[in-house]
Amino acid sequence: VSTPAVTVTTEPSGSTIAVKLAGEIDLANADDVAQAVDAAITNQSFDAIIDVAGITYIDSVGMRYLFTLAARLNTAQIRLRFLAPLGTPARRVIELSGLNAVAPVDPPLG
């Protein structure tokens, strides 16, 4: 799935689904991103990995979706993990917003 500013790549492997987000996520495309990610993570998945390394910008609307996703997958008993390398823009926002308190982030906080 591709929108003007963001790409969502999904890669299923057994019971694990990996989702790679790259580009910019804001009010204008957060709904599209949410739809694409939601569709990829079915109830048959055991693990979901969201790779946010390629995100160059994410606003509060985008973050709200990531929180909603974390809550939803917690209910559905699907393990969720974020890949956010140190020094990337998304990593900073994840730490500031407290997303790391509701889902594990790789690499873990130092």
Partner: protein, 549 residues
């Protein structure tokens, strides 16, 4: 920046340069007309900021000054807030606030008279923007409306100037025009905000429930200002239903804001206790502590889940009227406790009243019954004649026709009518909700209420709540992935058997987590029969439970 003391070339301005005192006065009168012209209908569409901005542009021309600014008084903080500016736009952009009594503008507002500064420095001007912009001389006057200070209008020059008494006089005249136009805009803005607030707070759509029907009317009073009347209908987790009617003393935006706070406060305390006298007592304490000086009347009615009885507590509010099927309506006799906001820790009482099937309850605010040309008793008699055990909307229409007719009411009127329907057989319960954890509570509320209406014992009700809870929790946890979906609950009575169907449209998966499989065991134990149907794209649980007698 161009120096506006010299009219710009090519600009058609209907005034000449000042020659002497006589022509200056004549000139000033002519210029003043320009300001007056700004209050005409062509500018009616402008909001306060736009209007002031336009006016200030003219003020700069009329007085040959470089800067002009309006600061409006914020009563809550007793400070002046920069609202419009020309030549020193930063004032508005940076949200300048000047405490009344301090600095140049603050002094004008406090002393309610013109102030002239021939030489601006840090001793007489608080706002650094004025100094940084190199303003050398200032003249300011209060904006007054009906004797009250509304704000301050000041003008300044970048070169030293001795403002004269005549300048001050002219600015006073301008200020009166500005104040008049501003007050009108502010009133209109307050009115619009109050109406928007009121609309957002009154329930747009009253709840659709099996066993109760509602209708409501709200009419603003003659003065045009919206008041603090409100009504509210909401469910509690226990299955009880709250119906509230209230009236904040006062009018306009302030009353509407207090009303909004009271509504939220009352809802919040209702989650902590379902005793209406206790809820009102807590709302009273909150109001007295955080909004001293405000007063309101409240009528809080709590329907038990079966709707057989109501518990009602009255804080200075007119009592409701009830009409039982085939009987004339009567005013409910209730002990009336004082309004909230007045007495500390006053005792508050509850009254429990039976509501027979088919009965209509009509709650209202005092605007409906208070009228100069009739006594309250006469008005209550009329109201009782208008209220019949009929469909709520028809009752509201009849009440408004008889009590209001074609005279615009002086005060706001809110009317809320509730009818307990007269179904001999309880309709099945049908719920379609999002498969999310918060839906489980909603399902329990509806189920508790339904079970109460079919006369389930506490033991039966608890078992059925657990069985349905497990089935719906399964759907929430297992049926869907990240995208989520819907869970459907259908409950019906067949003879004395409660038949329950819980269905989702997801793909079945084996239960996960620590409590794997326990849910099924619980459903089997709390029902007489239990079936699980696994489809390609749905999962359905069907359970039966016989009610004990």
């Amino acid at each position: 920046m161009p120096h506006p003391k010299q009219p710009e070339v090519g600009r058609a301005l209907p005034f000449r340069r000042p020659m002497n005192d006589a022509t200056q006065t004549k000139d000033a009168t002519g210029r003043l007309r320009q300001i007056e012209a700004l209050t005409d209908s062509a500018l009616a569409h402008l909001d306060v900021e736009e209007l002031l901005s336009e006016l200030l542009e003219r003020v700069r021309d009329v007085l040959h000054v470089d800067t002009a600014a309006v600061l409006l008084l914020d009563r809550a903080s007793n400070s002046l807030i920069a609202t419009a500016a020309r030549g020193i736009e930063e004032e508005v952009i940076q949200g300048v606030r000047i405490p009344v009594g301090r600095g140049f503008a603050g002094r004008i507002a406090a002393e309610k008279r013109a102030v002239i500064l021939d030489r601006v420095d840090h001793t007489n001007v608080l706002n650094p923007i004025l100094r940084d912009r190199g303003i050398r001389s200032l003249l300011g006057v209060p904006l007054r409306s009906q004797g009250e200070v509304l704000g301050v209008l000041h003008v300044g020059t970048l070169s030293p100037r001795k403002f004269t008494e005549d300048d001050a006089e002219l600015l006073h005249l301008v200020a009166d025009r500005v104040a008049l136009a501003t007050q009108a805009r502010l009133n209109e803005a307050d009115r619009s905000a109050a109406i928007a607030l009121q609309n957002s707070l009154l329930p747009g759509r009253l709840p659709q429930l099996h066993g109760l029907e509602f209708a409501a009317r709200y009419v603003p009073g003659e003065a045009g200002g919206v008041g603090g009347d409100w009504y509210d209908v909401f469910s509690l987790p226990s299955g009880r239903l709250c119906v509230v009617m209230g009236d904040v003393v006062g009018r306009g935006l302030r009353a509407a804001v207090v009303m909004g706070r009271l509504r939220s406060t009352l809802r919040a305390y209702s989650l902590m206790t379902e005793d209406p006298a206790e809820v009102i007592a807590r709302v009273d304490r909150k109001l007295q502590h955080f909004e001293p000086g405000e007063m309101a009347t409240i009528m809080m009615t709590v329907f038990d889940p079966s709707y057989d009885t109501i518990t009602i507590s009255c804080a200075g509010h007119p009592p409701p009227v009830m009409a039982r099927a085939n009987d004339p309506a009567t005013v409910l006799e209730l002990p009336v406790d004082p309004p909230i906001g007045v007495f500390a820790n006053h005792r508050r009482r509850n009254t429990t009243i039976e509501i027979p099937r088919g009965a209509v309850l009509c709650l209202f605010t005092d605007g409906l019954v208070e009228r100069r040309d009739a006594t309250l008793d006469e008005r209550f008699d009329e109201l009782c004649q208008a209220v019949q055990a009929d469909a709520p909307d028809a009752v509201c229409a009849a009440v408004m026709l008889r009590m209001v007719g074609s005279t615009t009411p002086k005060d706001d009127i809110a009317v809320l009518t509730v009818r307990r329907t007269d179904d001999s057989r309880t309709a099945p319960l049908d719920i379609h909700v999002a498969a999310v954890p918060t839906s489980l509570g909603q399902i329990r509320v509806a189920l508790r209420r339904w079970l109460a209406t079919v006369g389930a014992t506490d033991d039966d009700a608890n078992d059925i709540l657990v069985a349905v809870g497990e089935a719906t929790a399964n759907a929430v946890e297992h049926a869907y992935g990240a995208a989520g979906g819907v869970v459907e609950v259908h409950v019906d009575l067949e003879d004395r058997d409660v038949v329950i169907r819980v269905r989702d449209s997801g793909q079945w998966r084996a239960p996960r987590g620590e409590h794997r499989g326990r849910g099924t065991m619980i459903m089997e134990k709390t029902s007489d029969t239990f079936h699980l149907i696994r489809g390609e794209n749905f999962t359905e649980v069907i359970m039966r439970r016989r009610l004990s007698t």
